[in-house]
Each structure stands twice: as structure tokens, then as C-alpha cells.
């Protein structure tokens, strides 16, 4: 049988589709730290998405740039759970008050706790090279 361009197209498209969906079937999860309640952290991520926190805030430097990067907010100096909760509930100059339930707040804190343990995102510690590579100092 002569191979036609349409055959190549179908094979490539199907390969992409199978590979793409296999990622969803066998997701790669980083092993969480022992002190993290992963179910709560997942719910916390959904709270983050529900209230569109990414519109203003970043994780690992990605997101909106009106607010601060929250990757390591959980362990930041003079911050911690109580301050984060207070800012969410009362707002500040740029941020409106968000009326989260107690459960949503607890889940969100677990999510922050988990992201905090996943790495440091302070770009002051990064060196950007001319070829686009980024390395930690």
C-alpha cells in the first residue's frame, strides 16, 4: 500500500492524542511532604481558582502582577496563616475583601503550605543567561 500524506497526518494526530490523554490517565504527582493533607491542599487549589487569585498574584513568578508572588507567603517574614487570613477577609488598598468560609480558608492555607514546600520563587536569587536559561544563584 502506498503511504499518502493523509495517513501520516492520521498517525501523527492519533499519537499526539494518545500521548496527551495518557498524561491525564497516569498523572505525575510529586510526593507530598508528610505534614501535608493532600486532599485539603487539592481543595485549596480549587479555592485559589474559584476566586481567581491568579488574576493578581503569582506562583513561581507566573500570574498577574498587581499583587505579590505567593509561592512562599506561608513562611514569609511577618506573614504566616493569621496575617494571610486577615488580608483575605478584610482586603487592602488594592485588594477587595473576600468572604471565604472557614473551610475554604483552611484548605487554602494547606495549599499555601504545600506550595511553600515545593521550592523558593524569589527571582532575586535567579540568574538569567543570554540564552534564556535560568539558574538559581
Amino acid at each position: 500500500m502506498k503511504i499518502k500524506p493523509i495517513h501520516i497526518f492520521i498517525v501523527l494526530s492519533l499519537s499526539f492524542l494518545i500521548y496527551s490523554f495518557s498524561i491525564y490517565i497516569h498523572p505525575i504527582y510529586a510526593k507530598p511532604e508528610a505534614n501535608i493533607n493532600i486532599e485539603k491542599a487539592i481543595s485549596g487549589r480549587l479555592v485559589w481558582q474559584k476566586y481567581n487569585c491568579q488574576s493578581c498574584h503569582q506562583f513561581y513568578g507566573l500570574g498577574g502582577y498587581l499583587g505579590t508572588d505567593l509561592t512562599n507567603i506561608y513562611s514569609a517574614k511577618n506573614k504566616g496563616e493569621a496575617v494571610i487570613k486577615a488580608v483575605i477577609l478584610t482586603g487592602n488598598d488594592a485588594m477587595p475583601a473576600y468572604h471565604l468560609s472557614e473551610n475554604e480558608l483552611t484548605d487554602l492555607m494547606e495549599f499555601f503550605k504545600q506550595t511553600n514546600q515545593s521550592g523558593r520563587a524569589d527571582y532575586n536569587n535567579f540568574t538569567i543567561y543570554n540564552n534564556g536559561m535560568i539558574e538559581r544563584k
Partner: protein
Amino acid sequence: MIKQINFGKLFFAFALLLLLAGIVFGLLASYVYINPKFLKDSLGFSALRPLHVSLVVFWIILGATASVISGMQLINPNAFSSKTVALQLALWMIAIIGIVIGYFNQEFGGREYWEFNPIWALPIAISWLLFLYNFLKTALKIKNWPVYIWMWMTGIIFFLFTFIENYYDDK
């Protein structure tokens, strides 16, 4: 009468309107950086940003759709069904108007850049399938496909892949 409508131009006009709206919301959002209290307790930056991004993304998608439809008109104006192209545009309009109203009513949330209520994904998906149908009606009448026809088909099919992927729920 519907046969005489230049759908390529109509899609372009709608796409340009979205670009204009996208620029307006982008400017409003950028003003928040100067005056953080601007619209803070009404629309808010959290709605302005996705409004700007969504409308600009729609401009890019519909601008490309307009280009393909214009190309299809040049290749063979009678090959595709004008009624389904009209329906395709109408579905896009319904979805985008619904999405914008949703942002104004604070009915949104979820993945960055694609935060609108999932119900609006339905007219977009149907509209895209109609686009594929009309594209194939035109393309299958061509014997040896030039490279741009392959590129159009790849774009149309792979948009569907990435679009469906957004609504995969692993819970």
C-alpha cells in the same frame, strides 16, 4: 440572500470588534496599576484581566477563522454551506456575549485565561465542529492539497484537542 453575504469579512468585523473591546478592558486594567482603588469594589482587576485576555484570545481565534473562511470563499465559494457558516458565527456571538455578561456578574472562576462558565464552551464547541464540517466540504473537493490546506486542517483539529482538554475532570 444568505449566499451573497461575505462571511469572511463579517467574521473579520466581529473579530476586530473583539480586539477593540480587548484593548479597552486592557487599558482599564492597566490603569489599576496607577490607581489600585479604581473599580476595586465593582468589576475589580480580577474580572478586568480575564475580560481583556479572553477577548484578545477570541480576537486571535476569530481572526484566524475569518482568514480561513475568506480563503475558502476564494477557493470555491459554492463548496461550503452558507447557512452553517452563519450559524457558526451566531454561536460564537452567543457564547462571547454570555461570557462577557458572566464576567460582569462575577460568574467565573477556574483555570487562568479560560475562566468563564463551562456552559459557554458548548456553543463554541458546536461552532467549531460546524467550521470543521464546512472546511472539509471545501477541502475534499481539492485533489492535491497545497500545504496551507494541511495547515488549516491541523489548526482546526488541534484546537479541538486543546479545547476538550480544558474540560477534562480527573475528580
